[in-house]
Structure formats: structure tokens, C-alpha cells
Amino acid sequence: MTSATSIGWTRDAIAERVAQDIPNGSYVNLGIGIPELVASHVPAGRTFIYHTENGLLGMGPSPAASESDPELINAGKRRVTMMPGAAFFDQATSFAMIRGGHLDLSVLGAFQVAANGDLANWSTGADDAIPAVGGAMDLVAGVKRVFVMTTHMTKEGEPKLVQRCTYPLTGRAVVTRIYSDLAVIDVTARGFALVELAPGITFDFVQERTAAPIITSHALEARQ
């Protein structure tokens, strides 16, 4: 989201909206980048426990300089802290948590999300790109619910919500719900379905920027 995008939700407002949908006590994995903002918007009275796939459950925020430890890092290789009740473990155990369905939620960024829930978020498939996948494919295959948090369009103005992904997939039919700067949209058996519009944003405005039909009858049910 560039500063030029002054309409719709800000990044922090999206994060706040995502956080509202996470129940107390959830075990959550936040993808690197914009999803990390969710941790700054936990609603009062709720506790989320953050998992970072490099081997820590109970991850806390960035450290004060005095507590900074180059071997206490998150999956983005940034230094973090640990919360009371935290536990360290190896990679096999960490991905047993992921693959075994023990995490309640993963919030990830996206290059593209398709109307059937397919997600592309690891490679643009460009010829000169260095392929790198990390834990993305494991997360989408194993975590109970996968939320996508993203700008509605690319910097170049292309829709990210599409009928069918053209970039290489991270996983098939894995995304549950999308939180963009313009709207909250569910992935349903009938395709994209509107849950909520950002303030001042109209349905037509969102549909014009989405490369697949969005159904609206779903909105009321989903909000209840």
C-alpha cells in the first residue's frame, strides 16, 4: 500500500480488522511483512500465542537493545522476544504443529488469490528470480484457517483477486478469507463473497478492481 492510496483501510486498519476475527487463546502464525502488524492490534481482553516456524511458540515483540539476541529471531530473521509460557523446539516439531493442524490461524501475504482459494505468494515465476519457498507451502497445507492480508491490487494496478492464479501456486484451495484495503472477502464454494466494505468504499468499486465475480448475499450471514 503506497501513501498514494488514501482511500479504504490503512495497513493498521486492516490489521485491526483481522485481529477482531481471531478468538482469544488462538495459536497464530503471522507471515512476514504486513501480517506482522496484527500483533499490534490485539483486542482488549484477548491473548494470542504467536508461533514462528523457526522454532518458538510464545513469540513477543521486538526487543529492547539490551535484550537483543541474534539467536532469538523470527521466521523473517528479525530479532524478537519471548512471552511467559514460551517454548523452544526443533524444526520437525515446529512443522508437526503446522502440518498436523495444531495452529488455529495463519495470516499471509499474497501475490494472487483465486476464487477457489488457490494462493500464490512465493514466486512470480520470473526467469531470473531465485526460487525460495520457506514454510509457506507447509503453512497453507496444515494450518486450520488461512487468512490473506493484502492490498487489493498490485503497485502496478493489477488485481490480486483473480479467477485463476497465473503465478506458481503455494497451495490449492487453501485461503479462507481475504482482508484487503478495500474489503473483507470470504472464499466460498461459490467463489468470492463480500463480508464487509471499508468505510467509503462501494461494492462496485471493489468489483471493478477484482478479476472474478464477488457475490454479495453472503455478507449478512458472514457478519453474524
Binding site: T47, I49, L57, G58, P84, G85, T93, A96, R99
Partner: protein, 236 residues
């Protein structure tokens, strides 16, 4: 605020339903969650499938659950420990099904179930009666048998110390199957001799991270099968 404590074993096992699959920790008496098992006997669920390495001794704990005829099938590696009479009698009478699994394959199948690994190939049991009827396949120059992950509705285990987030430490060889079983059930219930606040345990030494545990019951002085049996106890 997260607090997984339940006030009693009775409340912790209240929703175990007829026909449920229940994993029960322990190798012999070491790690056997006797108080949770006794609460399950009181609770009354029947037609259970139990996954446990042994079948208990005397007339207490797992043996008492079997004797109450609540278990229709057991998945087990060694059902005839010295002092085990309940299972042999039921088995000879055709009142219980047995799925016999090599101990390491049992451990790995439970781990696989908890880790989202649906099936794996192992060299164990190839060429023996326990591989009969199972798919096998040669990798390299060696035959392997296909084994499937196991999952359960509930797991009952015994820890030494647990915290309110469900992190668990074990006592010596009482650890055995508990860490894998904790991962492989929809609802994992831990009885622990000591229960502490989150943050009291060193994050480096936790054996079972709290994400795998749903309910913690404080059982300060857990009974031991051998002591109960020496005292001639039977349950209920």
C-alpha cells in the same frame, strides 16, 4: 489470559463419548495416568478404542477400564505384562479386539498422526505375520511396509509439571508415549503432579509445548499401579 486448568479429573473427561478413540500414555506403570483413567471409568463411556503400549496390571488403572468392559478394541504392542490377567481373559473370551503393532511402529504411527504425515514406509516387521495384508514396497534393495498415522479423539497422559498454557515436563521413563500422544488427539488431557503459572518453566526444557495440550488437571500425589496392586486395590 489463557488458563487450561480443569478443576478435577471428572470434569476433564466429562465429554469422552461412546465409541471414542482414546490414547493412554504409559509404559507399564511409568506414566500411566491412573486418576484420569479412574475418572473415565466413573464417567461411563463405552465401546472405546484404546491406544496404549500395554494393558495394565492387577485390577486398577487401565486393567480396571478393560475389566469394566468399556473397551472394544485395543491398539497395543505388548498386552501381556507380568501381572496382567484382565486382558488375557477378555481376549481369550473374544470380548476385545487386539491390533498388535510393533512398539516403534506404534510410536511412529502416533507421531505421524500428530504431525500430519498420513503414512510412511518402515522396514520394521517385513517378513513377519505383522506385515501380512499390508502394502509393501522395495526402496533401494530393501523391502518396507506402508504404515498409517493414527489419530484419536482424546489423549490421557501424566506429566510431572505442567503450566497454565499446557506446557508439560515429564518424570524420567514416564515420558515414553506421552509427547507423541499429546500431539495426536483432538483433545489432550494432562494430569500433572505440579501445576505452575505460565512463565515459571524454562522455555528451553519444555518437552510438550502447550499448543498440543487442551486440559490440565492437578493431581498432586498420583497413585502407582504397583503400590495399588500390592495393597490389593481394585477400582471402582
Amino acid at each position: 489470559m489463557i488458563d487450561k486448568r480443569f478443576a478435577s479429573a471428572r470434569e476433564a473427561v466429562a465429554d469422552i463419548f461412546d465409541g471414542a478413540t482414546v490414547m493412554i500414555g504409559g509404559f507399564g506403570e511409568a506414566g500411566s495416568p491412573i486418576e484420569l483413567i479412574h475418572a473415565l471409568i466413573d464417567q461411563g463411556a463405552k465401546g472405546l478404542t484404546v491406544v496404549s503400549n500395554n494393558t495394565g496390571t492387577g485390577l486398577v488403572g487401565l486393567a480396571a477400564l478393560l475389566r469394566a468392559e468399556r473397551v472394544s478394541k485395543i491398539i497395543c504392542s505388548f498386552p501381556k505384562t507380568a501381572g496382567s490377567t484382565v486382558f488375557p481373559d477378555l481376549y481369550r473370551a473374544g470380548k476385545i479386539q487386539l491390533e498388535l503393532v510393533p512398539q516403534g511402529t506404534l510410536a511412529e504411527r502416533i507421531r505421524a498422526g500428530g504431525a500430519g504425515i498420513v503414512a510412511f514406509y518402515t522396514p520394521t516387521a517385513v517378513g513377519t505375520p505383522l506385515a501380512q495384508g499390508k502394502e509393501s514396497r522395495v526402496f533401494g534393495d530393501r523391502e518396507h511396509v506402508l504404515e498409517h498415522g493414527i489419530r484419536a479423539d482424546f489423549t490421557l497422559i501424566k506429566g510431572r509439571t505442567a503450566d497454565t498454557h499446557g506446557n508439560v515436563l515429564y518424570h524420567r521413563t514416564a515420558r515414553n508415549f506421552a509427547p507423541m500422544m499429546a500431539t495426536a488427539a483432538t483433545v489432550t488431557i494432562v494430569q500433572a503432579a505440579q501445576v505452575v503459572d505460565a512463565g515459571a518453566l524454562d522455555a528451553e526444557v519444555i518437552v510438550t509445548p502447550g499448543i498440543f495440550v487442551d486440559r490440565v488437571v492437578h493431581v498432586p500425589a498420583p497413585a502407582l499401579e504397583s503400590a495399588l496392586n500390592e495393597a490389593g486395590a481394585s477400582y471402582p
